[in-house]
């Protein structure tokens, strides 16, 4: 998709395992002296939904933010090991962070619309990419808002401030904003934590629809939600990956005691 991404030098270093779309290898992560992630290994398939579950503070968000290298905003952050997308390491010197982030979109736990109009929020990624053609922007805005199931609610008030939306609408706006960038991967960090059941249902529905086009990784504390939306589930505990399997397996037939305790609600 991005020419810099797929340059020749990079393709030579492609991982032979190829099949696995995203692969995390011996990934360790530190904030200063504190080790947050302790040697993780997992692979994710293209077009799948992967759920990250685990008790609070176990490092789910940290891992998620590693995929688009957003942790680097923190000067304390250090890592070892590697993460590759389509076989190319995201830490490869040839990879520009900007193009990585265009490929890997993110929806935050706390919705964070920009202090701009609804419309400008959606087309922000196109604007920063230098796209100013009104008709293209309009089309992308409409499609993205439709994909995020927000179009009907906001089509008459696109010029209004994004802050005039409700929390659930804001979260869907942030999803629309991420979709507008046409990423390949969408990272969702507890996208429904602040939402009511109806808005949550809408977003879950949305995830089902998006799955066709995008690879989705979602962090959630809601077991039912993980069970409903994901294909595979990874259970983390204090920076370790305890168990990673098909969602059904994790919930119906967990191999690890900790996993079982967690999914059945006996601990954490």
């Amino acid at each position: 998709m991005n020419p810099q991404w797929q340059n020749r030098a990079a393709s030579r270093r492609r991982d032979p395992r190829g099949r696995d779309y995203i692969s995390v290898k011996d990934y360790c992560f530190w904030f200063g002296q504190a080790q947050v992630l302790k040697g993780l290994n997992l692979d994710m398939q293209k077009g799948s939904v992967t759920a990250f579950i685990g008790p609070s503070g176990c490092g789910k968000s940290t891992l998620l933010r590693s995929f688009n290298r957003l942790n680097e905003l923190n000067p304390q952050a250090r890592h070892r090991g590697d993460i590759a997308i389509e076989g190319l390491s995201i830490y490869d010197p040839a990879v520009e962070v900007i193009s990585l982030r265009k490929r890997v979109g993110m929806v935050f736990q706390k919705s964070n619309p920009f202090p701009k109009s609804i419309y400008e929020n959606v087309v922000y990624s196109l604007r920063v990419a230098g796209e100013n053609n009104k008709s293209i922007l309009d089309e992308v805005a409409e499609n993205s808002l439709r994909s995020a199931a927000l179009w009907e609610e906001v089509k008459d008030r696109l010029g209004e401030s994004a802050f005039s939306l409700s929390l659930g609408q804001m979260q869907r706006l942030c999803i629309a904003r991420a979709i507008a960038n046409e990423p390949e991967v969408i990272l969702m960090d507890e996208p429904c934590s602040a939402l009511d059941p109806i808005a949550t249902a809408k977003i879950e529905e949305l995830i089902h629809e998006l799955k066709v086009k995008y690879t989705i990784i979602i962090v959630t504390h809601n077991m039912q939600q993980a069970a409903r939306v994901s294909d595979s589930t990874a259970f983390f505990y204090t920076g370790n990956l305890i168990e990673y399997n098909k969602t059904q397996e994790i919930f119906l037939n967990p191999q690890n005691d900790k996993t079982e305790a967690y999914v059945s609600g006996r601990s954490g």
Binding site: L73, P93, M106, F108, F114, P115, Y124
Partner: protein
């Protein structure tokens, strides 16, 4: 049992706020309220104090009756009434040349002084000039004499003052030369001129206008030399109109002759000649052109005219560029008198004058064109006077009663017009905004326009902000958004140290180091200002051309380590290349030697017409900018860093670059804080004093030329307050300057606050 009740008691207590916490909470509430109110009260107190200091400037004169005394029964014989400087011994000057004093303080009652002028001549005319207290008499035999109607205080052992008359009389001088009867004569004497002009009636009934100058021998001790007759002039031919009035300037430098048709002839007494220099009609534009009366104001250059409908104008001498000489031109126009003005009485302390007509009296102040006080009395006024110290008004009514009033008008030069309007002061060709509070001579008029000072303040602020705002804001943006956090932690404390530099140190550096340094190196500076942005842009372009494997090898936020040596080298190169640029660009012909020289200091005035001084606004802008940068920087940096991290990561996660994030997201969100930062910077620059005092020449100018100095309102207070007598006009005007500064800051604050609220509503981030 006991146990149970105790636990029950305890559960109740659990839900009660402990008495101590409640008490403390209430105390703190009140404490904060009282504290807040006290702060507000203190600010209001300062404001009220300044206001009280300033308010008297805008009051008119206060006039209160002191006493009434019957002086005479025969007012028809009164020429004038005058008063000593202490207001104790009024004198009636009578037609026969006798003086009649009245002691108001002691028990001496009426003191008759008898005839002033020697017998042997028959008086045929008498005239009193209150400006120089000269009584001038003419005789039947064509001679004239004058007497100084003075006073002499005497202090006894208890320092009690008694005022005595002190009249000195001149010899008789021959005005006519032909023994003609004098109908009228006036005389004025200054240091260089002594001139008498009069009308003589010859035996055939023809009138002649004759003038004579007197000369004084220089005695060995510089004073008291013998006075003798000098040149004699006959002005009869020059005046083709019937004469109404003759007025010799108190300094003898010129004479105004008013004709009955309203024309005024001006004869200048210069170089031993008395020549007609100008003819004009003070009321030439009115249906009735006639002049009612004319007389001089203090200072010999202005004359007050009244018209037949009560009009009142002042004409002043100023240089006429076309004719190349000093001519009379109209400078002031007062509101007309409701009554026909019959008497004119000038003040001898300032440019005030009193016009009386019938029952009406009006005290006017020429400089500011204002009526200080006016009143209709129940008595008919025939003569008036203004006390020598501008603290008394006196009126003689038809019945011969003298009404003495106390006059309280401490600030006649003040007024809205003087502070903010264009005023034409004596000797100026055009009305203008001038600040000049003190001068060398006694009859100096303080010129109190605040406009040049306001402009000075704005000018300093403008240049300081032009320099400081971009640097501080870009610096803050860079530090908060781009700089590596390890370095960021060092920048802020450094900036705060910079902010704590006393401004007097900066001013000292500006005056003694920066001004002389920049004086010869303006072209270098211009090159640096041009070179640094160019070099930076060029570097950025080159950087963009590098493969990004190289670019990612420099950690984000440390790029400046590469850039700063380049900028440093550019600065040095530009500085060194300055003289070279001067050779090429700023070459002018030196007017003194006629050589072609490369000197920016000469080029600037020649090319722009504006002046160039060493201690100029550029130096002030730099140094004051230096003082303002840390203030703006730290507030702006704070507000930029306080932009929610979620917004920043949201933008970055969408693939925006750091710069795009900074400009599109961070900057707008932080804009209310940035407005605050700029505002505080402006306030600091407006109020900044020591740097402006030391780094400029403190000349009150009215231009925005960057290479000239200025005088700011704040600096003005420092410069002038040693000369300002307590509660005098200058003292209060300085407070007015302070109030103006306060108001300016207030206006700027309000505007910025409105803008800030607007931006805040627009860009407020969620939660």
């Amino acid at each position: 049992m006991k146990n149970q009740s105790q636990s029950h008691h305890r559960t109740l207590e659990r839900f009660q706020v402990s008495r101590r916490i409640g008490w403390f909470d209430r105390f703190m509430n009140h404490f904060i309220v009282v504290g807040g109110l006290m702060v507000i009260a203190a600010v209001m107190g300062i404001f009220v104090f300044i206001f009280l200091q300033v308010a008297p400037l805008f009051h008119g004169a206060e006039v209160k009756l002191l006493s009434r005394h019957k002086l005479t029964d025969t007012v028809d014989s009164v020429v004038a009434v005058d008063l000593d400087e202490w207001g104790e011994l009024p004198v009636l000057i009578q037609k026969d040349g006798s003086l009649r004093y009245r002691d108001l303080k002691g028990d001496r009652g009426i003191i008759e002084n008898g005839q002033v002028f020697q017998a042997g001549e028959t008086l045929s005319s008498i005239h009193y000039n209150s400006l120089n207290r000269l009584l001038v008499a003419g005789s039947n035999s064509g001679r004239f004499a004058y007497a100084k109607v003075g006073y002499r205080p005497e202090y006894d052992s208890l320092s009690v003052r008694t005022v005595h008359p002190d009249v000195t009389r001149s010899d008789w001088f021959d005005l006519s030369g032909k023994g003609e009867r004098i109908l009228f004569v006036d005389y004025g004497e200054g240091d260089s001129n002594k001139l008498a002009v009069g009308i003589c009636l010859d035996s055939e009934g023809n009138r002649h206008v004759r003038a004579v100058s007197l000369e004084q021998d220089l005695s060995l001790f510089g004073e008291g030399g013998k006075i003798s007759l000098g040149a004699r002039f006959d002005l009869t031919e020059a005046i083709d109109q019937a004469i109404q009035q003759i007025d010799v300037a108190p300094d003898g430098g010129l004479v105004l002759i008013v004709a009955e048709n309203g024309e005024v002839f001006v004869f200048f007494n210069q170089g031993g000649k008395l020549e007609l220099g100008q003819r004009f009609e003070p009321f030439g534009d009115l249906p009735d052109r006639r002049v009612g009366g004319a007389d001089f104001l203090l200072g010999d250059t202005s004359a007050v005219f009244t018209g037949w409908e009560g009009e009142n104008r002042v004409y002043s001498l100023s240089l006429d560029r076309d004719k190349g000489k000093r001519l009379y031109a109209r400078t002031k126009e007062f509101e007309p008198m409701p009554e026909l003005p019959e008497g004119y009485f000038p003040g001898v302390r300032n440019n005030s004058f009193l016009l009386v007509g019938n029952h009406h009296a009006s005290l006017r102040f020429s400089t500011t064109e204002s009526i200080r006080w006016q009143r209709n009395f129940e008595f008919e006024i025939i003569r008036g006077l203004i006390g020598e110290k501008y603290d008394r008004l006196g009126f003689l009514d038809r019945t011969g009663t003298f009404h003495l009033f106390h006059l309280r008008d401490p600030h006649p030069q003040a007024g809205l017009r003087a502070f903010l309007g264009k005023v034409r002061y004596e000797g100026q060709a055009e009305p203008d905004y001038v600040w000049q509070s003190t001068g060398g001579t006694d009859d100096f008029e303080p010129k109190l326009s605040l406009v040049p000072l306001i402009i000075g303040s704005l000018k300093g602020t403008l240049y300081a902000m032009l320099f400081a705002a971009p640097i501080a804001l870009l610096g803050a943006l860079y530090t908060s958004q781009f700089l590596h956090p390890k370095w960021r932690d060092h920048v802020k404390p450094t900036m705060e140290i910079m902010a704590s530099l006393p401004s007097v140190v900066l001013g000292f550096m500006a005056a003694l180091w920066l001004a002389p340094l920049l004086d010869t190196r303006v072209p270098s500076l211009l090159l640096v200002l041009l070179g640094v942005p160019c070099a930076t842009l060029a570097c950025n372009w080159c950087w963009g051309q590098l493969p990004h494997r190289v670019r990612t090898s420099i950690p984000a936020g440390l790029e400046f380590l590469l850039l700063s040596p380049i900028i440093l080298i550019t600065c040095i190169l530009c500085w060194k290349a300055g003289p070279l640029a001067e050779e090429i660009l700023f070459v002018v012909t030196n007017p003194e030697t006629g050589e072609r020289v490369a000197d920016f200091r000469l080029w600037w005035p020649e090319f722009t017409g504006a002046t160039y001084t060493q201690r100029n606004s550029l130096v002030v802008g730099f140094m004051m900018g230096f003082a303002v940068i840390p203030v703006i920087f730290s507030i702006a940096e704070d507000s930029l860093s306080n932009v929610p991290k979620s917004l920043r990561s949201g933008s970055l996660a969408l693939g925006a670059s750091r710069w795009q994030t900074a400009v599109n997201i961070v900057l707008p969100t932080a804009s209310p804080g940035i407005i605050s930062a700029l505002l505080i910077g402006i306030s600091r620059a407006l109020g900044e004093t020591m740097i402006v005092v030391m780094a400029t020449g403190n000349t009150p100018l009215k231009d925005f030329n960057i290479f000239s100095g200025m005088r700011a309102l704040s600096a003005n207070i420092v410069v002038e307050f040693p000369q300002a007598p307590f509660q005098g006009t200058l003292y209060r005007t300085l407070f007015l300057g302070a109030l103006t500064l306060f108001i300016m800051t207030f206006i700027i604050n309000t505007m910025a606050e409105v803008l800030r609220q607007h931006l805040r509503n627009r860009y407020k981030a969620v939660r």
